[in-house]
């Protein structure tokens, strides 16, 4: 695991006696490798280890084995710093109709996550409605309908309607009438090369004026995470990120890179396929996962 390799890297280097620039550089390379193995984007990773190197050389480190702990702590601090040091809530307020739009690459887990988010919000006494605007994927509406029904919330969709914008406006209109205070809009998967789909997403944003746009990111996403997220951010104002599939073995470094580069905080994580496999983001726990 990353933690094991990181820990042994630090132990091996610092056991060798007084800390000097060469030892720290060797340690820096090992930490760099460990971060890359966690899928942290290469430039983000090198910035982090450069800061770790700087601090390890300039700060007064304690002697002996305490030195280990001090360096691990510096790595831990530098990572939590880029993750944001606290949990951010969703941009929704009681007393109005809030619209959340969910976007992301194909298969990242948007539809499943919306079911979980709906379940989470319903438990907090929000009156939730789900709108399916995915006109591309066969069975998209049936999937959202089943998830929404399991969560005990209403779902709007129309598999015969091929215009996503029309679906979005009709769904929001109906749910506003029926008094929903949170409307979550599911969209088709898309990546930045699909210019027509990116255009559709921009149009949806313009029509809906969402209170929050959530980018769902697959926990297994690798080096490409940063540039993919930046393109989504360029097209629409991504307010937050949800990272999925962290019940697998992925470390989630891609999602961290996406968050760091777009400035959008990670607000929740997905840890399975069930409605309850959903947690508010905890930066300390996440870094702990990266460091093992």
């Amino acid at each position: 695991s990353l933690g094991k390799s990181l820990n042994s890297a630090i132990t091996k280097v610092l056991r060798r006696g007084p800390v000097d620039a060469d030892l720290i550089r060797e340690l820096k390379n090992d930490i760099f490798k460990a971060l890359l193995e966690a899928d942290v984007e290469i430039n983000v990773a090198s910035e982090v280890v450069n800061r770790v190197e700087q601090r390890s050389l300039s700060e007064k480190l304690p002697p002996g084995l305490e030195r280990n702990k001090a360096v691990i702590n510096i790595v831990y601090e530098e990572l939590t710093k880029i993750m944001g040091d606290r949990a951010y809530p969703l941009n929704i307020q009681k007393g109005k109709t809030n619209i959340i739009m969910v976007v992301g690459i194909q298969g990242s887990g948007k539809t499943t996550t919306i079911g979980k988010l709906a379940n989470f919000l319903k438990k907090q006494k929000w009156n939730v409605g789900l709108v399916c605007t995915d006109t591309w994927r066969p069975g998209a509406y049936e999937q959202l309908l089943q998830l929404g029904t399991n969560a005990g919330v209403d779902v709007f969709g129309d598999p015969k309607q091929k215009n996503a914008i029309k679906l979005a406006t009709k769904g929001v209109k109906e749910f506003k009438k029926s008094g929903k205070d949170v409307i979550i809009v599911d969209t088709a998967g898309r990546h930045k090369e699909e210019t027509e789909l990116i255009k559709e997403m921009k149009k949806l944003d313009k029509k809906l004026h969402p209170d929050e746009i959530i980018l769902v990111i697959d926990g297994t996403l690798g080096q490409v995470a940063k540039k993919q997220a930046l393109e989504f951010k360029k097209a629409t104002d991504i307010g937050s990120i949800i990272v999925t599939k962290l019940d697998g073995t992925a470390k989630g470094g891609g999602a961290i890179s996406a968050s760091v580069s777009t400035g959008a905080p990670i607000k929740f994580i997905g840890t399975g396929e069930g409605l309850d496999d959903f947690e508010p983001f905890d930066p300390k726990k996440f870094v702990g996962r990266i460091l093992g």
Partner: protein, 286 residues
Amino acid sequence: KQLDEKSLKEPIQELIELMIANEVAVEVATEIGERVKRELIEAGTEQERFKDVRPLLREALRKAIKEVITPPGGGIDLFEEIRKKREEGDPYVIVMEGINGTGKTTTMAKLAHKFQKAGFSVVFAASDTFRAGAIDQLSKHGEKLGIKTIKHQQGGDPTAVAIDALDHAYAKGIDVVMVDTAGRMQNNDNLIRELKKVVDKTEADMRIFVGDSLAGNDVIRQAREFADRVGVDAVIMTKADSDVKGGAVLSVAHTVGKPILYLGVGQGYDDLQEFDADFLVDQILP
């Protein structure tokens, strides 16, 4: 003078980092890079003094990458394999496997479309009996393609559906049985066992690992576990139409040592592209 550790250490590290930036898993980039360095040193390779070692190193690395993604026995001719089975009077059974959301169901539909164009008959087994909308999704593909989908109740036994489809194929003389399975994390023992049962009971002829080209280092853990615990005969990497260099393809090829059948390059039935090894080498190490 002879190439040695000292002259190669930094240049190989540069190339390893370039491979990582081009999406190759750290473990794979490091193994291939270190192996090439070792082989050059052991071969006593010589080079003119003061000449830059990088072009030589790059060429050796490109050759090594090409070897990894070109399987020793050559590729698999799926159409030929199906024909052979048909002559023996048996349907050819294909099982799609992989973690959640990689594109198994969509890829299965694309493959089915290819088989139909080649004149083969196909039946679908909706063995993802778990996920919301999974049976609907596959059935809709089946309707569009004119392929029958064998399905049971949601929550039913995936193996029973696959066997049912196999029986149907024998009864109707269908050439290919395609089994769609639920996505599952490779560290979920129960689900891995469930998949192994489907593969064993149907005596699958072709177990296709479907991987996501956007995935990072985790793709090698996925491929390794599926290959070791369920079995993989070939690989299809999807979403290659997104802005990727393709390092993940190398990572999987290196890990399972099986042929890359196709790349998924979009969401339509024709978006399945023959794998071009030379093109991938140029992408990873231009």
